[in-house]
Protein backbone atom coordinates (compact mmCIF):
# COMPACT_ATOMS: atom_id res chain seq x y z
CA UNK A 1 0.00 0.00 0.00
CA UNK A 2 1.41 3.36 -0.96
CA UNK A 3 0.25 6.91 -1.67
CA UNK A 4 -0.43 7.90 -5.26
CA UNK A 5 2.77 9.35 -6.71
CA UNK A 6 0.78 11.36 -9.23
CA UNK A 7 -0.59 13.42 -6.35
CA UNK A 8 2.92 14.40 -5.32
CA UNK A 9 4.17 15.18 -8.84
CA UNK A 10 1.05 17.26 -9.57
CA UNK A 11 1.57 19.18 -6.34
CA UNK A 12 5.22 19.89 -7.09
CA UNK A 13 4.40 20.87 -10.67
CA UNK A 14 1.78 23.30 -9.41
CA UNK A 15 4.15 24.83 -6.84
CA UNK A 16 6.96 25.19 -9.38
CA UNK A 17 4.73 26.76 -12.02
CA UNK A 18 3.21 29.16 -9.50
CA UNK A 19 6.66 30.22 -8.24
CA UNK A 20 7.81 30.82 -11.81
CA UNK A 21 4.73 32.88 -12.71
CA UNK A 22 5.11 34.92 -9.53
CA UNK A 23 8.81 35.49 -10.16
CA UNK A 24 7.94 37.01 -13.54
CA UNK A 25 4.99 39.07 -12.33
CA UNK A 26 5.84 39.67 -8.70
CA UNK A 27 9.31 41.18 -9.16
CA UNK A 28 8.26 44.24 -11.16
CA UNK A 29 5.14 44.57 -8.99
CA UNK A 30 7.21 44.50 -5.78
CA UNK A 31 9.73 46.99 -7.22
CA UNK A 32 6.92 49.35 -8.08
CA UNK A 33 5.30 48.98 -4.65
CA UNK A 34 8.64 49.51 -2.90
CA UNK A 35 9.53 52.66 -4.82
CA UNK A 36 6.28 54.44 -5.61
CA UNK A 37 4.40 56.58 -3.15
CA UNK A 38 1.58 57.31 -5.59
CA UNK A 39 -2.03 56.95 -4.57
CA UNK A 40 -2.48 53.85 -6.74
CA UNK A 41 0.54 52.18 -5.18
CA UNK A 42 -0.81 52.86 -1.71
CA UNK A 43 -4.09 51.31 -2.79
CA UNK A 44 -2.38 48.32 -4.38
CA UNK A 45 -0.38 47.47 -1.27
CA UNK A 46 -3.34 46.21 0.83
CA UNK A 47 -4.86 44.64 -2.29
CA UNK A 48 -1.79 42.46 -2.70
CA UNK A 49 -1.99 41.47 0.98
CA UNK A 50 -5.70 40.62 0.82
CA UNK A 51 -5.14 36.84 0.38
CA UNK A 52 -3.36 36.82 3.75
CA UNK A 53 -6.54 37.67 5.62
CA UNK A 54 -9.34 36.40 3.38
CA UNK A 55 -10.57 32.83 3.82
CA UNK A 56 -9.26 30.94 0.78
CA UNK A 57 -12.81 29.81 0.09
CA UNK A 58 -13.80 33.41 -0.63
CA UNK A 59 -11.12 33.71 -3.31
CA UNK A 60 -12.06 30.25 -4.55
CA UNK A 61 -15.70 31.21 -4.82
CA UNK A 62 -15.04 34.32 -6.92
CA UNK A 63 -12.53 32.48 -9.07
CA UNK A 64 -15.05 29.71 -9.66
CA UNK A 65 -17.52 32.32 -10.92
CA UNK A 66 -14.88 33.90 -13.16
CA UNK A 67 -13.72 30.52 -14.48
CA UNK A 68 -17.19 29.23 -15.37
CA UNK A 69 -17.90 29.05 -19.12
CA UNK A 70 -20.37 31.89 -18.56
CA UNK A 71 -17.83 34.00 -16.61
CA UNK A 72 -15.59 36.45 -18.45
CA UNK A 73 -12.25 34.69 -18.05
CA UNK A 74 -13.72 31.18 -18.42
CA UNK A 75 -15.51 32.13 -21.62
CA UNK A 76 -12.37 33.67 -23.12
CA UNK A 77 -10.36 30.59 -22.15
CA UNK A 78 -12.96 28.24 -23.63
CA UNK A 79 -13.05 30.01 -27.00
CA UNK A 80 -9.26 30.34 -27.16
CA UNK A 81 -8.14 26.88 -25.98
CA UNK A 82 -11.36 24.96 -26.49
CA UNK A 83 -11.39 23.62 -22.94
CA UNK A 84 -12.73 24.64 -19.57
CA UNK A 85 -10.66 26.71 -17.15
CA UNK A 86 -12.51 25.56 -14.06
CA UNK A 87 -11.25 22.21 -12.72
CA UNK A 88 -8.07 22.43 -14.83
CA UNK A 89 -4.38 22.66 -13.96
CA UNK A 90 -4.18 26.13 -15.56
CA UNK A 91 -7.07 27.27 -13.38
CA UNK A 92 -5.24 25.96 -10.33
CA UNK A 93 -2.11 27.91 -11.30
CA UNK A 94 -4.12 31.12 -11.55
CA UNK A 95 -5.74 30.47 -8.17
CA UNK A 96 -2.40 29.61 -6.52
CA UNK A 97 -0.75 32.68 -8.00
CA UNK A 98 -3.34 34.95 -6.45
CA UNK A 99 -3.31 33.05 -3.16
CA UNK A 100 0.51 33.06 -2.86
CA UNK A 101 0.96 36.61 -4.20
CA UNK A 102 1.65 38.21 -0.81
CA UNK A 103 4.11 35.46 0.11
CA UNK A 104 6.23 36.43 -2.87
CA UNK A 105 5.65 40.17 -3.02
CA UNK A 106 6.03 41.02 0.69
CA UNK A 107 9.60 39.72 1.14
CA UNK A 108 10.56 41.31 -2.19
CA UNK A 109 9.13 44.69 -1.15
CA UNK A 110 11.11 44.46 2.09
CA UNK A 111 14.29 43.53 0.20
CA UNK A 112 13.83 46.34 -2.34
CA UNK A 113 13.11 48.90 0.37
CA UNK A 114 16.43 48.04 2.00
CA UNK A 115 18.33 49.36 -1.02
CA UNK A 116 19.52 52.83 0.06
CA UNK A 117 17.81 55.54 -1.94
CA UNK A 118 21.18 57.26 -2.45
CA UNK A 119 22.29 54.24 -4.52
CA UNK A 120 19.17 54.40 -6.66
CA UNK A 121 19.51 58.18 -7.04
CA UNK A 122 23.16 57.72 -8.00
CA UNK A 123 22.26 55.24 -10.74
CA UNK A 124 19.58 57.61 -12.04
CA UNK A 125 22.00 60.48 -12.31
CA UNK A 126 24.46 58.21 -14.10
CA UNK A 127 21.74 57.90 -16.73
CA UNK A 128 20.09 54.58 -15.83
CA UNK A 129 16.42 54.63 -16.88
CA UNK A 130 13.64 52.72 -15.11
CA UNK A 131 14.03 49.33 -16.83
CA UNK A 132 17.81 49.62 -16.70
CA UNK A 133 17.61 50.28 -12.94
CA UNK A 134 15.32 47.29 -12.44
CA UNK A 135 17.83 44.91 -14.01
CA UNK A 136 21.11 46.50 -12.88
CA UNK A 137 20.20 47.71 -9.39
CA UNK A 138 16.99 46.13 -8.09
CA UNK A 139 17.58 42.51 -9.14
CA UNK A 140 21.22 42.15 -8.09
CA UNK A 141 20.70 43.95 -4.78
CA UNK A 142 17.41 42.17 -4.06
CA UNK A 143 18.65 38.64 -4.80
CA UNK A 144 18.60 37.53 -1.17
CA UNK A 145 14.96 38.54 -0.86
CA UNK A 146 14.30 36.71 -4.12
CA UNK A 147 15.52 33.36 -2.75
CA UNK A 148 13.45 33.78 0.41
CA UNK A 149 10.41 34.77 -1.64
CA UNK A 150 10.75 31.70 -3.89
CA UNK A 151 11.03 29.26 -0.98
CA UNK A 152 8.06 30.86 0.79
CA UNK A 153 5.93 30.82 -2.35
CA UNK A 154 6.80 27.23 -3.18
CA UNK A 155 6.11 26.01 0.37
CA UNK A 156 2.91 27.99 0.70
CA UNK A 157 1.53 26.70 -2.61
CA UNK A 158 2.20 23.11 -1.56
CA UNK A 159 0.11 23.62 1.55
CA UNK A 160 -2.92 25.36 0.05
CA UNK A 161 -6.27 23.71 0.43
CA UNK A 162 -9.27 26.00 0.35
CA UNK A 163 -8.91 27.39 -3.16
CA UNK A 164 -7.97 24.00 -4.62
CA UNK A 165 -11.05 22.55 -3.01
CA UNK A 166 -13.24 25.17 -4.67
CA UNK A 167 -11.75 25.32 -8.17
CA UNK A 168 -9.70 22.11 -8.50
CA UNK A 169 -12.25 19.36 -8.76
CA UNK A 170 -9.88 16.66 -7.47
CA UNK A 171 -9.12 15.20 -10.94
CA UNK A 172 -6.24 12.68 -10.74
CA UNK A 173 -3.04 13.75 -12.56
CA UNK A 174 -4.58 17.14 -13.26
CA UNK A 175 -5.80 18.87 -10.14
CA UNK A 176 -5.58 16.28 -7.36
CA UNK A 177 -2.89 17.60 -4.97
CA UNK A 178 -1.49 16.43 -1.62
CA UNK A 179 -3.69 18.48 0.66
CA UNK A 180 -6.85 17.29 -1.10
CA UNK A 181 -5.67 13.68 -1.13
CA UNK A 182 -5.05 13.92 2.62
CA UNK A 183 -8.58 15.15 3.14
CA UNK A 184 -9.90 12.20 1.09
CA UNK A 185 -7.88 9.68 3.08
CA UNK A 186 -9.16 11.02 6.35
CA UNK A 187 -12.74 10.99 5.07
CA UNK A 188 -12.22 7.35 4.08
CA UNK A 189 -10.70 6.58 7.53
CA UNK A 190 -7.44 5.59 5.75
CA UNK A 191 -5.28 6.96 8.58
CA UNK A 192 -2.16 5.11 7.54
CA UNK A 193 -1.87 6.88 4.19
CA UNK A 194 -3.06 10.11 5.78
CA UNK A 195 -0.14 9.83 8.22
CA UNK A 196 2.36 9.49 5.37
CA UNK A 197 1.09 12.63 3.61
CA UNK A 198 0.60 14.68 6.77
CA UNK A 199 4.00 13.72 8.18
CA UNK A 200 5.60 14.43 4.82
CA UNK A 201 4.04 17.91 4.74
CA UNK A 202 5.24 18.68 8.26
CA UNK A 203 8.77 17.62 7.36
CA UNK A 204 8.66 19.61 4.13
CA UNK A 205 7.37 22.75 5.82
CA UNK A 206 10.02 22.48 8.52
CA UNK A 207 12.82 22.09 5.97
CA UNK A 208 11.51 25.07 3.99
CA UNK A 209 11.59 27.30 7.04
CA UNK A 210 15.04 25.99 7.88
CA UNK A 211 16.22 27.06 4.42
CA UNK A 212 14.70 30.52 4.87
CA UNK A 213 16.42 30.83 8.24
CA UNK A 214 19.72 29.76 6.71
CA UNK A 215 19.30 32.27 3.85
CA UNK A 216 18.64 35.06 6.32
CA UNK A 217 21.68 34.13 8.38
CA UNK A 218 23.98 34.02 5.37
CA UNK A 219 22.61 37.35 4.18
CA UNK A 220 23.37 38.83 7.58
CA UNK A 221 26.90 37.39 7.49
CA UNK A 222 27.28 38.79 3.99
CA UNK A 223 26.32 42.32 4.94
CA UNK A 224 28.48 42.15 8.06
CA UNK A 225 31.43 41.10 5.94
CA UNK A 226 30.70 44.00 3.59
CA UNK A 227 30.75 46.40 6.47
CA UNK A 228 33.89 44.78 7.78
CA UNK A 229 32.36 43.68 11.09
Amino acid sequence: MSVEWAVITTTIQLALTTTLVLALMGLPLAWWLARSDSFIARLAQPLVSLPLVLPPTVIGFYLLLAFSPKGGLGKLWLTTFDRSLAFSFAGLVIGSTIYSLPFFVQPMVVAFKQIPSSIIDASRLLGAKAIDRFFTIALPLGRHGFLVACVMTFAHTIGEFGIVLMIGGNIPEETRVVSIALFDYVEAMDYQRAHILAGGLVAFAFISLLIVEWLNQSHLRDSHRRLGL
Binding site: L125, L126, G127, A128, P140, R226
Partner: protein, 364 residues
Protein backbone atom coordinates in the same frame (compact mmCIF):
# COMPACT_ATOMS: atom_id res chain seq x y z
CA UNK B 1 31.70 89.56 -21.17
CA UNK B 2 30.62 85.98 -21.50
CA UNK B 3 31.94 83.60 -24.11
CA UNK B 4 30.21 80.77 -25.94
CA UNK B 5 31.27 78.20 -23.36
CA UNK B 6 29.70 80.11 -20.49
CA UNK B 7 26.49 80.70 -22.39
CA UNK B 8 26.27 76.97 -23.02
CA UNK B 9 26.57 76.18 -19.32
CA UNK B 10 24.39 78.74 -17.60
CA UNK B 11 22.00 77.24 -15.09
CA UNK B 12 18.96 79.29 -14.32
CA UNK B 13 16.93 78.37 -11.26
CA UNK B 14 13.74 79.57 -9.68
CA UNK B 15 13.13 76.92 -7.06
CA UNK B 16 10.15 76.57 -4.77
CA UNK B 17 9.91 73.41 -2.73
CA UNK B 18 7.20 72.79 -0.16
CA UNK B 19 6.37 69.77 1.92
CA UNK B 20 2.82 69.82 3.17
CA UNK B 21 2.23 73.54 3.62
CA UNK B 22 5.77 74.27 4.81
CA UNK B 23 8.06 76.03 2.36
CA UNK B 24 11.54 74.48 2.38
CA UNK B 25 13.20 76.69 -0.18
CA UNK B 26 12.22 79.60 -2.31
CA UNK B 27 15.05 81.14 -4.28
CA UNK B 28 16.03 82.42 -7.67
CA UNK B 29 19.46 82.75 -9.27
CA UNK B 30 21.49 82.21 -12.42
CA UNK B 31 25.01 80.76 -12.53
CA UNK B 32 27.90 82.23 -14.47
CA UNK B 33 28.36 79.09 -16.52
CA UNK B 34 31.84 78.23 -15.35
CA UNK B 35 33.90 77.69 -12.23
CA UNK B 36 32.64 76.64 -8.83
CA UNK B 37 29.52 78.06 -7.25
CA UNK B 38 29.28 77.27 -3.53
CA UNK B 39 25.89 76.86 -1.90
CA UNK B 40 26.77 77.97 1.59
CA UNK B 41 24.67 78.11 4.75
CA UNK B 42 23.88 76.36 8.00
CA UNK B 43 22.50 72.82 8.17
CA UNK B 44 18.81 73.02 7.38
CA UNK B 45 19.18 76.16 5.26
CA UNK B 46 17.90 74.20 2.24
CA UNK B 47 21.19 73.68 0.40
CA UNK B 48 20.71 69.98 -0.31
CA UNK B 49 17.05 70.46 -1.20
CA UNK B 50 18.06 73.09 -3.73
CA UNK B 51 20.73 70.80 -5.17
CA UNK B 52 18.28 67.90 -5.44
CA UNK B 53 15.79 70.16 -7.18
CA UNK B 54 18.44 71.09 -9.75
CA UNK B 55 19.26 67.41 -10.23
CA UNK B 56 15.60 66.47 -10.64
CA UNK B 57 15.44 64.32 -7.51
CA UNK B 58 12.70 66.38 -5.86
CA UNK B 59 9.27 65.14 -6.87
CA UNK B 60 7.40 67.35 -9.36
CA UNK B 61 4.56 67.78 -6.87
CA UNK B 62 6.86 68.98 -4.04
CA UNK B 63 8.71 71.38 -6.36
CA UNK B 64 5.58 72.60 -8.10
CA UNK B 65 6.02 76.07 -9.57
CA UNK B 66 9.81 75.72 -9.85
CA UNK B 67 11.65 76.61 -13.04
CA UNK B 68 15.01 75.11 -13.87
CA UNK B 69 16.80 75.43 -17.18
CA UNK B 70 20.33 74.74 -18.29
CA UNK B 71 21.90 76.18 -21.45
CA UNK B 72 18.45 77.06 -22.72
CA UNK B 73 17.28 73.48 -22.18
CA UNK B 74 14.20 73.55 -19.92
CA UNK B 75 14.47 70.93 -17.18
CA UNK B 76 11.46 71.97 -15.21
CA UNK B 77 8.66 74.44 -15.81
CA UNK B 78 4.93 74.68 -15.41
CA UNK B 79 3.64 71.36 -16.75
CA UNK B 80 6.98 69.92 -17.79
CA UNK B 81 9.54 67.90 -15.85
CA UNK B 82 12.62 66.29 -17.30
CA UNK B 83 13.53 63.13 -15.42
CA UNK B 84 16.78 63.18 -13.43
CA UNK B 85 18.33 60.47 -15.63
CA UNK B 86 17.90 62.63 -18.74
CA UNK B 87 19.38 65.88 -17.44
CA UNK B 88 23.02 64.99 -17.88
CA UNK B 89 23.83 66.10 -14.35
CA UNK B 90 26.45 64.47 -12.15
CA UNK B 91 26.01 64.34 -8.40
CA UNK B 92 28.58 63.33 -5.80
CA UNK B 93 26.74 62.45 -2.61
CA UNK B 94 27.79 62.69 1.02
CA UNK B 95 28.22 58.92 1.28
CA UNK B 96 26.77 55.53 0.31
CA UNK B 97 26.65 56.07 -3.41
CA UNK B 98 28.73 53.26 -4.93
CA UNK B 99 26.88 50.28 -6.33
CA UNK B 100 27.76 47.68 -3.68
CA UNK B 101 27.47 44.66 -5.99
CA UNK B 102 30.09 45.96 -8.44
CA UNK B 103 33.83 46.43 -8.05
CA UNK B 104 35.36 49.88 -8.37
CA UNK B 105 36.11 49.11 -12.02
CA UNK B 106 32.52 47.88 -12.43
CA UNK B 107 31.22 51.13 -10.98
CA UNK B 108 33.31 53.15 -13.42
CA UNK B 109 32.20 50.97 -16.34
CA UNK B 110 28.57 51.42 -15.29
CA UNK B 111 29.11 55.17 -15.62
CA UNK B 112 31.07 55.11 -18.88
CA UNK B 113 28.45 52.89 -20.59
CA UNK B 114 25.81 55.48 -19.75
CA UNK B 115 27.95 58.57 -20.41
CA UNK B 116 25.92 61.74 -20.99
CA UNK B 117 28.21 63.04 -23.71
CA UNK B 118 29.94 61.08 -26.46
CA UNK B 119 33.47 62.43 -26.19
CA UNK B 120 35.65 64.21 -23.72
CA UNK B 121 37.36 62.84 -20.66
CA UNK B 122 39.58 59.80 -20.80
CA UNK B 123 39.37 56.95 -18.31
CA UNK B 124 43.10 57.09 -17.50
CA UNK B 125 42.99 60.83 -16.99
CA UNK B 126 40.18 60.55 -14.43
CA UNK B 127 41.67 57.55 -12.62
CA UNK B 128 44.94 59.40 -12.29
CA UNK B 129 43.46 62.72 -11.22
CA UNK B 130 41.45 61.05 -8.44
CA UNK B 131 44.29 58.72 -7.43
CA UNK B 132 42.32 55.48 -7.57
CA UNK B 133 44.65 53.34 -9.74
CA UNK B 134 45.26 50.90 -6.87
CA UNK B 135 41.58 50.57 -6.00
CA UNK B 136 40.17 49.40 -9.33
CA UNK B 137 39.75 45.73 -8.38
CA UNK B 138 38.50 46.37 -4.85
CA UNK B 139 34.88 46.21 -3.72
CA UNK B 140 33.17 49.33 -2.33
CA UNK B 141 32.64 47.73 1.09
CA UNK B 142 36.39 47.31 1.55
CA UNK B 143 37.13 51.01 0.87
CA UNK B 144 37.58 53.73 3.46
CA UNK B 145 35.25 56.72 3.45
CA UNK B 146 37.79 58.88 1.61
CA UNK B 147 38.45 56.19 -0.99
CA UNK B 148 34.72 55.76 -1.57
CA UNK B 149 34.32 59.49 -2.16
CA UNK B 150 37.23 59.50 -4.61
CA UNK B 151 35.69 56.63 -6.55
CA UNK B 152 32.32 58.41 -6.44
CA UNK B 153 33.94 61.52 -7.91
CA UNK B 154 35.82 59.52 -10.57
CA UNK B 155 32.64 57.68 -11.55
CA UNK B 156 30.78 60.97 -11.95
CA UNK B 157 33.56 62.46 -14.12
CA UNK B 158 33.68 59.36 -16.34
CA UNK B 159 29.93 59.71 -16.79
CA UNK B 160 30.65 63.09 -18.42
CA UNK B 161 27.92 65.29 -16.99
CA UNK B 162 27.40 68.82 -18.29
CA UNK B 163 27.09 70.09 -14.74
CA UNK B 164 28.73 68.63 -11.65
CA UNK B 165 26.93 68.85 -8.31
CA UNK B 166 28.67 68.03 -5.04
CA UNK B 167 26.59 67.58 -1.90
CA UNK B 168 28.94 68.04 1.08
CA UNK B 169 31.32 65.36 -0.25
CA UNK B 170 33.77 65.92 2.62
CA UNK B 171 31.21 65.89 5.42
CA UNK B 172 31.64 62.30 6.56
CA UNK B 173 35.44 62.20 6.28
CA UNK B 174 38.20 62.51 8.87
CA UNK B 175 40.52 65.56 8.62
CA UNK B 176 43.27 63.77 6.67
CA UNK B 177 40.87 62.33 4.09
CA UNK B 178 39.12 65.70 3.93
CA UNK B 179 42.41 67.39 3.09
CA UNK B 180 43.25 64.83 0.42
CA UNK B 181 39.86 64.97 -1.29
CA UNK B 182 39.95 68.78 -1.27
CA UNK B 183 43.29 68.70 -3.12
CA UNK B 184 41.72 66.33 -5.65
CA UNK B 185 38.72 68.61 -6.08
CA UNK B 186 41.05 71.52 -6.76
CA UNK B 187 42.90 69.42 -9.34
CA UNK B 188 39.60 68.44 -10.97
CA UNK B 189 38.53 72.08 -11.04
CA UNK B 190 41.76 73.04 -12.81
CA UNK B 191 41.95 70.03 -15.13
CA UNK B 192 38.37 69.38 -16.25
CA UNK B 193 36.34 72.10 -17.83
CA UNK B 194 33.05 71.53 -16.08
CA UNK B 195 30.94 73.96 -14.07
CA UNK B 196 30.42 72.81 -10.48
CA UNK B 197 27.97 73.55 -7.72
CA UNK B 198 29.40 72.72 -4.33
CA UNK B 199 27.26 72.47 -1.20
CA UNK B 200 28.97 73.08 2.12
CA UNK B 201 28.35 74.53 5.55
CA UNK B 202 32.10 75.03 6.07
CA UNK B 203 33.55 78.38 5.10
CA UNK B 204 37.14 77.05 4.94
CA UNK B 205 36.06 74.63 2.18
CA UNK B 206 34.23 77.39 0.34
CA UNK B 207 37.29 79.66 0.45
CA UNK B 208 39.54 76.98 -0.98
CA UNK B 209 37.29 75.95 -3.85
CA UNK B 210 34.61 78.47 -4.76
CA UNK B 211 34.57 81.34 -7.24
CA UNK B 212 31.09 82.51 -6.38
CA UNK B 213 28.99 81.99 -3.30
CA UNK B 214 25.25 81.70 -2.89
CA UNK B 215 24.52 82.23 0.78
CA UNK B 216 21.30 80.50 1.76
CA UNK B 217 19.35 81.18 4.91
CA UNK B 218 15.97 79.65 5.74
CA UNK B 219 15.64 78.48 2.16
CA UNK B 220 16.18 81.93 0.67
CA UNK B 221 19.06 83.67 -1.01
CA UNK B 222 20.65 85.89 1.61
CA UNK B 223 23.44 87.00 -0.72
CA UNK B 224 24.88 85.95 -4.04
CA UNK B 225 28.30 87.35 -4.79
CA UNK B 226 31.81 86.53 -5.85
CA UNK B 227 33.82 84.83 -3.12
CA UNK B 228 36.19 87.77 -2.68
CA UNK B 229 33.31 90.20 -2.18
CA UNK B 230 31.51 87.98 0.30
CA UNK B 231 34.69 87.10 2.19
CA UNK B 232 35.13 90.72 3.32
CA UNK B 233 31.46 91.35 3.92
CA UNK B 234 30.71 92.58 7.46
CA UNK B 235 27.41 90.75 7.64
CA UNK B 236 29.04 87.47 6.61
CA UNK B 237 31.81 87.93 9.19
CA UNK B 238 29.23 88.49 11.92
CA UNK B 239 27.28 85.47 10.75
CA UNK B 240 30.31 83.19 10.83
CA UNK B 241 31.64 84.54 14.15
CA UNK B 242 34.60 82.37 15.22
CA UNK B 243 34.97 80.79 11.80
CA UNK B 244 35.07 84.03 9.89
CA UNK B 245 37.92 84.14 7.41
CA UNK B 246 38.81 85.86 4.19
CA UNK B 247 41.28 85.11 1.47
CA UNK B 248 44.39 86.53 -0.08
CA UNK B 249 45.54 85.35 -3.46
CA UNK B 250 49.24 85.27 -4.20
CA UNK B 251 52.03 83.61 -6.15
CA UNK B 252 54.56 81.28 -4.56
CA UNK B 253 58.08 82.48 -5.34
CA UNK B 254 60.41 80.66 -3.00
CA UNK B 255 60.51 77.62 -0.72
CA UNK B 256 62.59 77.40 2.42
CA UNK B 257 62.79 73.65 2.98
CA UNK B 258 64.92 74.10 6.07
CA UNK B 259 62.25 75.96 7.95
CA UNK B 260 59.34 74.43 6.04
CA UNK B 261 58.05 77.74 4.71
CA UNK B 262 56.98 79.12 1.37
CA UNK B 263 57.21 82.76 0.37
CA UNK B 264 54.09 84.13 -1.30
CA UNK B 265 54.10 87.34 -3.26
CA UNK B 266 51.11 89.62 -2.86
CA UNK B 267 51.51 92.58 -5.13
CA UNK B 268 54.75 94.31 -4.13
CA UNK B 269 54.74 92.71 -0.69
CA UNK B 270 55.21 89.13 0.44
CA UNK B 271 54.43 86.77 3.28
CA UNK B 272 55.62 83.41 4.60
CA UNK B 273 53.27 80.48 5.01
CA UNK B 274 54.04 77.27 6.87
CA UNK B 275 53.75 74.82 3.97
CA UNK B 276 56.83 73.92 1.91
CA UNK B 277 54.86 71.79 -0.58
CA UNK B 278 53.18 74.66 -2.43
CA UNK B 279 53.96 74.69 -6.14
CA UNK B 280 56.42 77.44 -7.01
CA UNK B 281 55.27 80.03 -9.59
CA UNK B 282 51.69 78.95 -9.04
CA UNK B 283 48.85 81.04 -7.70
CA UNK B 284 47.59 80.06 -4.27
CA UNK B 285 44.69 81.04 -2.07
CA UNK B 286 45.50 81.83 1.52
CA UNK B 287 42.80 81.43 4.12
CA UNK B 288 43.14 84.23 6.65
CA UNK B 289 41.11 83.87 9.84
CA UNK B 290 40.05 87.38 10.77
CA UNK B 291 40.99 86.84 14.41
CA UNK B 292 44.52 86.06 13.26
CA UNK B 293 44.93 89.52 11.81
CA UNK B 294 46.40 92.11 14.18
CA UNK B 295 46.77 95.79 13.38
CA UNK B 296 49.52 98.20 14.31
CA UNK B 297 50.56 101.68 13.21
CA UNK B 298 54.22 100.82 12.73
CA UNK B 299 55.70 97.70 11.15
CA UNK B 300 56.34 94.98 13.74
CA UNK B 301 59.82 93.55 13.26
CA UNK B 302 60.32 92.01 16.69
CA UNK B 303 57.12 89.98 16.82
CA UNK B 304 56.72 86.18 16.64
CA UNK B 305 54.22 86.69 13.87
CA UNK B 306 56.10 86.34 10.61
CA UNK B 307 54.03 88.46 8.34
CA UNK B 308 53.35 92.12 8.31
CA UNK B 309 51.55 93.66 5.34
CA UNK B 310 51.03 97.35 4.67
CA UNK B 311 47.32 98.12 4.21
CA UNK B 312 44.91 101.01 4.11
CA UNK B 313 41.68 101.05 6.12
CA UNK B 314 38.65 101.15 3.84
CA UNK B 315 35.82 100.85 6.29
CA UNK B 316 35.09 100.09 9.94
CA UNK B 317 32.02 98.52 11.54
CA UNK B 318 31.77 98.92 15.28
CA UNK B 319 30.20 96.16 17.29
CA UNK B 320 29.58 95.97 21.05
CA UNK B 321 33.08 95.03 22.13
CA UNK B 322 34.80 94.43 18.83
CA UNK B 323 35.21 96.19 15.54
CA UNK B 324 35.48 94.79 12.04
CA UNK B 325 38.02 96.57 9.89
CA UNK B 326 38.04 96.29 6.13
CA UNK B 327 41.49 96.73 4.63
CA UNK B 328 42.93 97.24 1.19
CA UNK B 329 46.15 95.30 0.68
CA UNK B 330 47.71 95.61 -2.76
CA UNK B 331 44.28 95.90 -4.32
CA UNK B 332 42.93 92.91 -2.42
CA UNK B 333 40.42 93.15 0.38
CA UNK B 334 41.18 91.87 3.84
CA UNK B 335 39.14 91.79 7.03
CA UNK B 336 40.41 92.15 10.59
CA UNK B 337 38.64 91.86 13.91
CA UNK B 338 39.99 93.98 16.76
CA UNK B 339 38.60 95.16 20.08
CA UNK B 340 36.88 98.53 20.16
CA UNK B 341 39.39 99.57 22.76
CA UNK B 342 42.33 99.01 20.38
CA UNK B 343 40.39 100.70 17.67
CA UNK B 344 40.08 103.85 19.73
CA UNK B 345 43.60 103.65 21.20
CA UNK B 346 45.15 103.48 17.73
CA UNK B 347 42.68 106.04 16.36
CA UNK B 348 41.84 103.73 13.51
CA UNK B 349 39.75 105.43 10.91
CA UNK B 350 38.96 105.35 7.24
CA UNK B 351 42.05 106.09 5.14
CA UNK B 352 44.60 105.42 7.90
CA UNK B 353 47.59 103.33 6.86
CA UNK B 354 48.23 100.31 9.09
CA UNK B 355 50.33 97.17 9.21
CA UNK B 356 48.45 93.90 9.39
CA UNK B 357 50.30 91.10 11.14
CA UNK B 358 48.96 87.81 9.85
CA UNK B 359 49.18 84.18 10.79
CA UNK B 360 48.27 82.31 7.65
CA UNK B 361 46.86 78.88 8.32
CA UNK B 362 45.11 76.98 5.58
CA UNK B 363 46.09 77.39 1.96
CA UNK B 364 45.29 75.94 -1.38
Amino acid sequence: MTGAYERDHVLSVNAAVTIGDQALIHCEFETKGRGVLALYGRSGAGKSTLLRTIAGLTSPSASKGSRVSFAGDVWQAEGSFKAAELRGVGLVFQDQQLLPHLSVRGNLQYASKRAHQPTGVKWEEVVQATGIEALLDRHPATLSGGEQQRVGLARTLINQPRLLLLDEPLASLDPAARQQLMSILLRVKAQFEIPMIYVSHRWDEVIRLADDVLWLENGQVKQYASLSALAVDFEMANYQQDEAACLLVGRAVHTDLDQALTKIEIGDQSMWVPDPTLGIHQTHRLLIRIQNVGLSLIEQRDSSVLNSLRCAIVDIELGEATALVRLDCEGQRLLAQVTRRSCERLSLAKGVEVFASIKASVLS
